[in-house]
Subunit: 311 residues, 4 copies
């Protein structure tokens, strides 16, 4: 990533959580914001140069991974994650001004929104039909259009259209957080900060016994903490998966670099997705001292001396 | 699972792929079929006794895991998988009689259907708005209701409503397969067949280093082939996951029983989801001879002799 | 091991460290003691019934393993270790009455004795020729016979022959300890005490990759602490070894029994050498809580319930 | 190792197997040969500059490791193995001219010689007393001196003193082989040949769980075949060992270098003992393709590109 980013694509329309998250990226507020209808389109805009970066959701602490983002990162031209943004998710229920909750016959939201609020909706709007809309922002707009009566969406969307706020914080799990990632065309990763994440995709060789165990061992033997493992089908056939892995550390760290080389040797393929600062204090270490780069540098210097016969 | 199953819940409405899959279950054709609106409702019907079993989708070879099924199996009263059904997925495009493809302004399908056909739709119905419907069957009914112009759904749904078949096999990936599982209240698993799957959920202890590696080692050390690993958030906080694991073998197999005991010891919790016959020939072994139960029986008999001092 | 042991073979002649160690075995003082010339003869006396037990040295904290004992345990009819005895080794220098240290031209000891005292001898008896005798007791007797001038041996041997004690504690490493084991014909091992050792020999399959790693993993996966690993050639050809392993725990412990069954499956052969109380407080644990038998019993009960469908 | 070696120490006296082995080292025949009484003295001669190299026995396919060599390599100034020599061991029985086998009352040999021929001696010279001599060559000389009647030694020793050859090939195990190593002061190891051995000593950290398993994993994860593992007491206290390891490959190989760095990080200490050509065809691989240096170079180049953002 080099130069100034001036055009940011994001999962639109305006008023989604993605826009809220994007406003947390330094510099984005002054840049050109390009709402996109789908994650593949947002990623495509970066790939074809219409945008410098795209902010897309990667996972949610309640709903889990966002498959279109994973699939969009693993196929097509290589992209690189430069930053992550953690956004607490707040869903409110909005309707046309004057409406009350008992009158709602249809309530729309993005399927994830419906899923995260289904307990509340079943209890508080028991008779309403639930409608899947392409985005939470579209759910709000649909109220304006008269497509449905109510919308479960981000506060920013309801407020933008001056809808009536019938209920706040209607998610079943109040502490839900969405993790967004800022994606660019590939380049040199941002400099290590000492608290970084490295993301990659490992395609294991299916004709080798215990291939996934081998992959995890490449990290364990070097004292690297894996923070996430997510399988996705390779779409070739049932039973074939690739693995999205996040680990502590930066590709510039000796231990991470060595582990990546190990993966490169034992895997059918490896796609590096980026090294970037870990957001928030939400990550808990496992209480074990990880080997420092000093340990690796000491070992490398020792090897150099021994190889040269200088003891 | 004991006794005859007479009432089957499934992810409805009538006309979905789930119904097609259910018709492949021996005995189901003569039983009472109960279409349910959501996966949680189908599972709930089994839990509260309204149904004897539920057929729900677990994963798709293109779209990956079905989160509501995973979340529904891991929470609430224990349920047990008794059977798996692999169904090749065929999507056709239907519309009202007399319509032609150029006239479609809106096309609906379940979000998975839209995802799996998005390439074809973008190319062949470029101007149409894509609408997310709660099911592919509902997409077909919506055409009848006049809610939208076209529906991407299973052949059985289009035919049921005598819609016009505008295109067949419109999925981007023609070989997509959905894996359904038949779920009952817990009981003694079906007898081993020699080609079985065991499914479980492992909750790893997050304060122990390398806990996932330990879990995989419990299988590897006993020569058991893991065929699937799927993480899901525990919903407590970002970065906490549980792991859905499928392995070759049956809980009655000595090697699988011993591995399960090992998991029970090293994991914070283990939920056994069932042992059942592997469907189809779609599974490929890794070419390694797995230890047989004879090997385990021989070792146990030897231990008995040695402990008793009879050599 | 059953019944009362009345005849004990040991590595003689009378006056060796083995006799000193044997006197620490409860009941041995009142039994018939049979000094044997070599370790193979002592073991042979047990095998052919001339003795009920044999006390032989297994390892020394300075000199390491005692190969004839290892080789004698791994070949021939199975024998079983019932007890270990740790004996601090004290070497003194003896000569004929009236001799002084400057007059010694030849000094004899068992090769291990010469090895353990070589620094002291080189410094304090620099001109003396060092002679290898079959035992330290024979070294003392040789002084009487006039075969050599001095003997490095156990106090009990010098005192028995009323030799002159020219120096005490002449070992280079004052804290040397020899570990003896009491060996019988096979039978039911002594009951667990809560602080036991299990000894065995593993013959790894040489055509399998990482076979030794597999062996160690069988212990590690069950939380069992290995306290000793010793390789010995199988004598078939250069590069073929078997492995003597000691671990914490008793064959009656669930975790040890399960690990032994695992070894039985992955190894070409396993020879169980015994489970017996750990002597002394010389063993340090690794500070990790080992899984208790309760953990194993809980896991087994859980498996039983799950298999039976009783949840 | 640099320059021409002109003075070779070896485990003497002249006429031992070590001399026979030394004559197999290119250039040694024309050099100054310095027989030493013990292994520590031979190694000391290299350390203090009296010799350029020492040939000492490391292990025997029947008797196992040679403890004084291991202990001499692990303590004191660092030494380096530059070559290994495999010597088939042939023991003959010699006596004074005119003697016959029935008249032998005492037969001498080095304890290893007695051990390797004990079955034959017991059967063929049943009444003779067996005497431990400091070397097999000394056993031959002792016949000349009149110290004993017979000597079990190398042909070269019997022939040197024109003794009568009473029996040939009297070892119980006819195929015994001794592995000698040529040791120098440290320097740059000899260049890789493609079939090399690397020897080292690992001191594991005793307060870390599973430390030996970690050590073996450092090799396994990089596809390196371990050919020998030998424990020796550290002499601090009972139960503390260090591990002598031999593996396939050369320290200049990327995979071996990386494994050594890994050991350096996880072990309390590592002593590199040398990389040198593997002697003979006596080594059997495990049939697995080891990763080549090309695999490592490819992975390193890939990492370089990814780090630089050049994809």
């Amino acid at each position: 990533m080099s130069g100034v980013l001036t055009r940011y694509a994001y999962l639109g329309p305006a008023g989604t959580f993605a826009e809220q998250a994007l406003r947390l990226v330094p510099g984005a507020a002054d840049a050109e914001l390009l709402p996109m209808v789908t994650v593949p389109e947002a990623l495509g805009a970066v790939r074809d140069g219409r945008a410098d970066a795209a902010l897309v959701p990667l996972e949610n602490s309640v709903e889990g991974a966002v498959p279109p983002t994973l699939d969009g990162l693993v196929r097509g031209d290589l992209l690189m994650i430069n930053r992550e943004v953690l956004l607490p998710v707040t869903f409110n229920l909005y309707a046309a001004p004057g409406a009350d909750i008992g009158s709602l016959k249809t309530v729309a939201s993005h399927p994830h929104g419906l899923a995260q609020c289904q307990g509340w909706l079943r209890e508080n709007v028991p008779g309403a039909e639930l409608v899947a809309s392409p985005s939470t922002a579209d759910a709000a707009e649909g109220v304006l259009r008269g497509d449905w009566d109510g919308a479960v969406c981000a506060p920013v969307a309801g407020q933008r259209h001056q809808l009536a706020e019938l209920a706040v914080n209607v998610a079943d799990n109040a502490s839900a957080v969405t993790r967004f990632v800022l994606v660019t065309r590939p380049g040199r990763p941002p400099a290590p900060t000492g608290a970084d994440v490295t993301s990659l995709v490992a395609f294991i060789a299916h004709d080798r016994t215990g291939a996934l165990l081998e992959v995890l061992t490449e990290f364990a033997v070097r004292g690297i903490n894996l923070t996430r493992i997510e399988s996705r089908p390779t779409k070739e056939r049932m039973g074939r998966y690739c693995f999205f892995l996040d680990c502590d550390g930066h590709i510039e760290d000796a231990r991470v670099g060595e582990a990546l080389m190990g993966l490169r040797r034992v895997c059918a393929d490896v796609r590096f997705l980026g090294s970037y600062p870990r957001a928030g204090a939400d990550h808990e270490g496992d209480g074990r001292a990880e080997p420092s780069d000093d340990d690796f540098a000491d070992a490398a210097a020792w090897l150099e001396r021994v190889r040269a016969g200088e003891v």
